[in-house]
Amino acid sequence: MNEYAQHEHHDFLNAAQQALADPPLQEALVRLTSTLMAGNRRGYAALADSDALRSHAKRIKEHALAHLDRYLEQLEAAVQKNGGHVHWASNSEEARQIILDIARKTNTRRIVKSKSMTSEEIHLNPALEAAGIEVTETDFGEFIIQLAGERPSHIVAPALHHTRESIARVLSKHSGETLPEEPQALAKAGRRLLREKFARADMGISGVNFAIAETGSIAIISNEGNARLTTTCPRIHVALMGIEKVLPRWIDLPVFLKLLARAASGQSLSVYTSIITGPRRPGEMDGPEEFHLVLLDNGRSRVLATPFRESLQCIRCGACLNACPVYRRIGGHAYGGVYSGPIGSILTPLYDSVADNPHLPHASSLCGACQAACPVKINIPQMLIGLRELQTHEKGKSRLEKWAYQLSATVLRRPWLYRLALRCARLVLRPLARNGWLRRLPGPGAAWTSARDFPAPAVRSFRERWPTLD
């Protein structure tokens, strides 16, 4: 297992069970995902033709991915023309080293970061801290989980698993004062603590929501304004992006700006949309002296060449998490990887290992709510089934399960065997039933009856009734 997954031997079943038995977490999950999901529906409904716009966005992504090499080189040339530096990282270790080198060359002691899932993916903070650099997350949610020593449990709402009480505890401990369990007071305290960090930082590290090949610009979406401070106050700005984030043209950007915030929360636009084209120019009042763009592959070009290419269209809005009835009950940490929810169940096996993540592709009822919420209509259920198919060829897969499916297919292909099997099932199960229902099933069926009754096979099947049906 490589470092993509956070925990070795992540125990999905235990983590899920723990989450289900955690009432404050359950309450937080329902409250936040319901609000965000209602926003998603409202947001799409407010567009003249959200379906057409989403299809258009998907086509742009398909095109950009089909010509990724060309657009990345165009992006590189444009960024350099604007006075920026471009670095190519084939994996997370290279990306960390590139950023550490920039920090060393620029004599960086303090770093502020705006929210970046990609930096979570490469485990950047521990590497920077090990080099003696002070790193501060400036997205309020990220700040809280950094202080608490945790990982994000949601792509856009990283501290979703926290309550105002637990946030007050974390912030009070950090600041050495007793803060009230009141959202406004807590936000104010966070702001005070963070402003100081912005003022003293040498380097700001941001993610990238979209990069425009045509102009060499990057777009960063945020709600708190921390991304703008991160990218303008410090001397150095390092932006880290997965290579799939590139868009061909300037006019492609509004398509995604219209969709991203709507999909995530129902906002027509997020509060801050920063578009950055190179470092500070002569005569400008603010902006960094140096602008570095780090292009991260980390398995993406490998996935590009597989039937799972569609997963690279993801714009990290988190809508599939909010829509997912499984995520809404077990939360993000249960998934074990950097990315959670339905998209995480695809990304973690793809980028970590299919064999080491046996549960994730199955942790879905395939209800399709994720695809319905996705701004680029990623067919997540189809990819989950594709991963399940890959698993059946893995060595670790249960022989018994394989054999059971094979046997059932053999039976179901022969109507006479099917009828016989049906009769046997009826013979065994019918005597155990009360009013046609079973309270307990034997074998693997016990899992079913742990939560609900099971219908006993009917006294006469449909095919037995058909000949005399009036």
Binding site: L13, C367, Q406, L422, P444, A451, R452, D453, R463
Partner: protein, 238 residues
């Protein structure tokens, strides 16, 4: 008009009343129904679990069984979705079987789809006394059948239609999902049952045997008096 009934394996074995109601309803609407007796299972459980070779075997069996060129009516959104959306995909690199799959995909209709979009009927002349709510099966979303069952139900005489909160949220069935993750699936169906009870209805209607066995099984376990019925069972009665 003549159609072939694909009753589904769950319908055949566990809920034969649903098949019977479907046949009676269709006959009442002037549709002749036949039942190709070689039919067994469409292969969806195998497909969803990743056993695509086994799924292809069952798909071929189903395609042979329904090779009569007739319209196929399925009282199940998930089996209809398997045939309409997945069969062509399963045979994407097999020109002969792919064209047979595409042909059957075109001819196959989930029951509410057939009634509303093929027959063009919304008022089927049914009567059902009492307050009824409706759970939307996930595969109807996949098939784009977002309003059809509701349109049929609201035309039933005597029926007082109550909208279900979070009606389109999965009940937690998901085939093998319910057995692999009984904790998560159980939490989902318990929530569904609570919302159904909150609607204070005498019956909840669904369009799939999977949802029905899950929801009805949970309602029974909770000692609830709410009946879980298939859409065909409500539409059949006059």
């Amino acid at each position: 008009m003549k159609v072939s009934l694909l009753v589904t394996c769950l319908g055949d074995a566990l809920f034969p009343d649903v098949g019977v109601a479907t046949v009676r309803l269709l006959r009442r609407l002037g549709v002749a129904v036949d039942f190709p007796e070689a039919q067994t299972c469409c292969g969806q459980p195998h497909f969803n679990s990743g056993y695509h070779d086994d799924a292809r075997e069952l798909a071929r069996h189903t395609l042979r069984t329904f090779d009569n060129g007739q319209t196929v009516v399925v009282p199940s959104g998930s089996c209809a979705a398997m045939i309409k959306l997945e069969y062509p995909h399963l045979f994407h690199d097999d020109p002969v079987w792919r064209s047979r799959a595409e042909d059957m995909a075109r001819r196959t209709h989930e029951l509410s789809d057939f009634l509303v979009n093929v027959l063009g009927v919304e008022d089927v002349g049914a009567r059902h006394e009492g307050k009824v709510t409706y759970h939307m099966a996930c595969h109807l979303r996949g098939l784009g059948l977002l309003t059809e069952p509701e349109r049929l139900l609201t035309r039933v005489k005597g029926l007082e239609y109550v909208k279900l909160e979070r009606a389109d949220e999965c009940c937690g069935f998901g085939g093998s999902f319910a057995v692999r993750y009984p904790g998560i699936s159980g939490a989902m169906v318990q929530d569904k049952a609570s919302l159904i009870e909150k609607a204070s209805v005498s019956a909840v209607v669904a369009t799939d045997a999977g949802c029905l066995m899950n929801i009805a099984g949970c309602l029974r376990r909770r000692g609830s008096s709410v009946q879980a019925l298939h859409l065909a069972q409500v539409l059949e009665k006059t």
